[in-house]
Amino acid sequence: MLQPETARLLTEGQMLVKSSDVGNTQEEPGLSEAEEGNPFNFTPQLLRLHRDHQLFEDGDIHRHMYLQDLYVSETDDKTTLSVSEFACHISGCSAVFSTLEEYEHHYNSLHRHVCCSCRRSLPSARLLDIHIQEWHDSLFTILAQRQDMYQCLVEGCGQKFRTSQHRKQHLIKVHKYPPDFRFDKTKKDRGETKRPQQKDTSMEVAESVCESEGVCEVMCDVLSDQPEHGESMETHVSEEEAARTATSAITEDHANLSAAAHSAENTSSQPLKPQYSYRVPTNVCFGHGSVRGFRGRRGRRK
């Protein structure tokens, strides 16, 4: 089963992506000549290693130990092999793992079902659909003024309600949800609250949510000041991080995805205000909407 990122690569590879930062080495944004063509420029290379090369160190030491009569047969000292660690490549997420399973669990828990408008991660595809509908669909807003639009969150129930409050009541009464369940706040609150700690806490949110045993959390249309409590399973990836990323080895444009995560105005009625220059129009969403890309500081993690 292929991860979305690989599927994305597939489309890109076949499209010969045109992008502004091609280079797979330098990080300067200055390399921004719009280069047409292929970022995949591997060529086979003969590697000549000089005498003092790092690769030769162990063998040299072994040789000199033998010369100095320090040679010992191998069965005495078993070396432990080191295994590459895995890292989440979602821009803004710096999680590192020692096994593939841990990585996949992380990814599946936090980076699936991400809303491309507001970058929240939802626990399931259905809840994502509901979220998008209730938060980012102007038609919904209009219709909701006249008819019951808010669906019950429990699958199979099918009931609809005029307001999210009504839905909440229903969930508590009929489906026995706890009253302190993290329900959505009303739309009214949304526009007012800002997110001051966006930059700082985005990482922490990711990590803290990671640790919590993921109670199925309802998607909220809330913008709270305490992202950690209000957001439950929703994770926000810092847009600023992504913007700071210079080139990536792969020209994933999504690194600077249109979604203006910073913007507090997530009302679907307002167009998202771009805060940085984007290469992709804001209304274009790629599949799961997860942001991809390497951050500049990735290199230090070795």
Binding site: F40, L49, R51, A249, K302
Partner: protein, 461 residues
């Protein structure tokens, strides 16, 4: 002559516990690594008498020094007991402070040289023994003091007494790395032709060949490197002699081949252009030797110390390949099944000697970079699944293996399809998620080549 068993017996006899030994060894290893980082990695060898042991208790410093002075005086004046005194002196000179004391005595070296070149054969032997002890000294000002003896040592290389020749050779070998001054003198005195003649005339005497190989390897490690020494060596008859020694002798063991292989390594890695060595057939010789050794390893006959020979051979092949023009490759490395050997070495040494595994992978890269024949061989011999299994391992292993796989994919579209059938895609699924940026980049390159190669592959994804 070094027998690897000797070391273990020595270790067993000592009072130190196994744990202490291990600690000591680890510390020595650390020191060696630091020395290499400082480009000061130099080793000397001490040839022991058959009956003795390096750990024999010597007298304490002061009495040792005094003893040396006494012996020196006796030697200056005595007649027939010279042999006895000389022998005692050689034992006394094992101690570093005694060495210093001896050198400081006026005319001490003059005396030794006189005895070295005198008419008494036993005295000559003991005198060279004394010089040998001095050459092994940790003090840096002792080696220059031995310089007056070197022209004679070189002359004696053509003599027929094994023990004597060995001592001369190891003494010279210990002196070589000391300083530029010493090297200049030795070169001027004709050390290179002397070594060439020695190996040629004593080809049957493997103990001497080993000693000569050691001495040459010391000379070749000199810092000037490509400057003067290496061109002179390449111009001599030494390369062909070195190549002829590579096949290990059943009875004698690996030691001479080990020394000669290291000499070849120092030659190949210092030159940008290895045409001379290629013309001598070095690549084909080294690769065929590697194949026979690899075959033994694959069968489970890991003779002790084999990696000491495999390592320099791998390096020679690797660097010679980088100098070999693509069109000559098939004539130099005739047998494509060398890829089987290399993969076998990779698997065999992954756990115990990861550095060797890494070097094998490097050689595979150089083989496959510009040759379809070797790429195709990897596919035909079904070696790719084994390589894919090694992709989780870091420290240079997975990145090099990815290069090899990329080399294969780069050649032809059919190879890409074949690669896909080996299960490479699932291997890539893992490497794409690794933290190391270079690995991810390379994985993307491979994946791209696979995807672009044919619509079938894209569909399989």
């Amino acid at each position: 002559m070094w027998r690897l068993n000797k070391v273990r017996h020595k270790a067993g006899r000592q009072a130190d516990s196994l744990e202490e030994l291990r600690l000591k060894r680890r510390q020595q290893e650390k020191d060696l690594r630091q020395a290499r980082r400082d480009r000061q990695l130099v080793s000397k060898r001490l040839l022991l008498n058959e009956d003795e042991d390096q750990s024999e208790v010597t007298m304490d410093a002061d009495s040792g020094a005094q003893h040396v002075v006494t012996l020196f005086h006796k030697l200056q004046h005595s007649g027939p007991e010279k042999e006895v005194h000389l022998k005692a002196l050689s034992k006394a000179l094992r101690d570093p402070s005694a060495q210093l004391t001896f050198i400081k005595q006026e005319n001490s070296m003059h005396l030794l040289v006189g005895l070295l070149t005198g008419s008494n054969a036993t005295c000559r032997l003991q005198a060279v023994r004394c010089l040998h002890e001095l050459s092994h000294s940790p003090h840096t000002n002792i080696a220059p003091a031995c310089l007056p003896a070197t022209p004679y040592l070189l002359t004696y290389l053509s003599n027929q007494s094994t023990k004597f020749t060995e001592l001369c050779l190891y003494t010279l070998g210990n002196l070589c790395p000391e300083s530029d001054v010493v090297q200049e003198k030795l070169l001027a005195q004709g050390i290179i032709p002397a070594l060439a003649n020695c190996i040629e005339n004593q080809r049957h005497n493997l103990a001497v060949v080993e000693a000569a190989g050691f001495t040459l390897s010391q000379l070749l490690q000199a810092k000037d490197g490509g400057g003067k020494i290496i061109p002179m060596v390449l111009a001599s008859s030494l390369p062909s002699h070195l190549l002829s020694v590579l096949t290990p002798d059943q009875n004698f063991g690996l030691a001479p081949a080990i020394e000669c292989a290291w000499c070849l390594h120092y030659l190949t890695c210092s030159m940008q252009d290895n045409r001379v060595l290629l013309a001598h057939g070095a690549l084909s010789r080294c690769s065929s030797t590697l194949m026979s050794l690899g075959g033994a390893v694959a069968e489970g006959n890991k003779e002790e110390g084999m990696e000491l020979l495999i390592c320099p051979l791998l390096r020679c092949v690797g660097n010679l390949l980088s100098s070999c023009p693509a069109e000559d490759l098939s004539s130099q490395v005739a047998d494509v099944s060398i890829v089987v050997t290399l993969c076998a070495l990779l698997q065999a040494y992954m756990q115990t000697q990861t550095a060797l595994a890494r070097e094998s992978a490097w050689v595979l890269n150089n083989l496959t970079a510009h040759s379809s024949a070797f790429c195709s061989a990897l596919l035909t011999f079904n070696l790719v699944p084994g390589l894919i299994q090694l992709l989780p391992f870091s420290q240079g292993i997975n990145i090099m293996i990815l290069r090899v796989l990329a080399n294969i994919a780069h050649k032809k579209k059919e190879y890409c399809v074949q690669l896909t059938h080996t299960g490479l895609l699932s291997g890539l699924c893992a490497t794409l998620k690794m933290a190391d940026k270079d690995i991810v980049t390379l994985s993307m390159d491979v994946l791209f080549m696979l995807v672009v190669s044919s619509p079938q592959v894209a569909e399989e994804l």
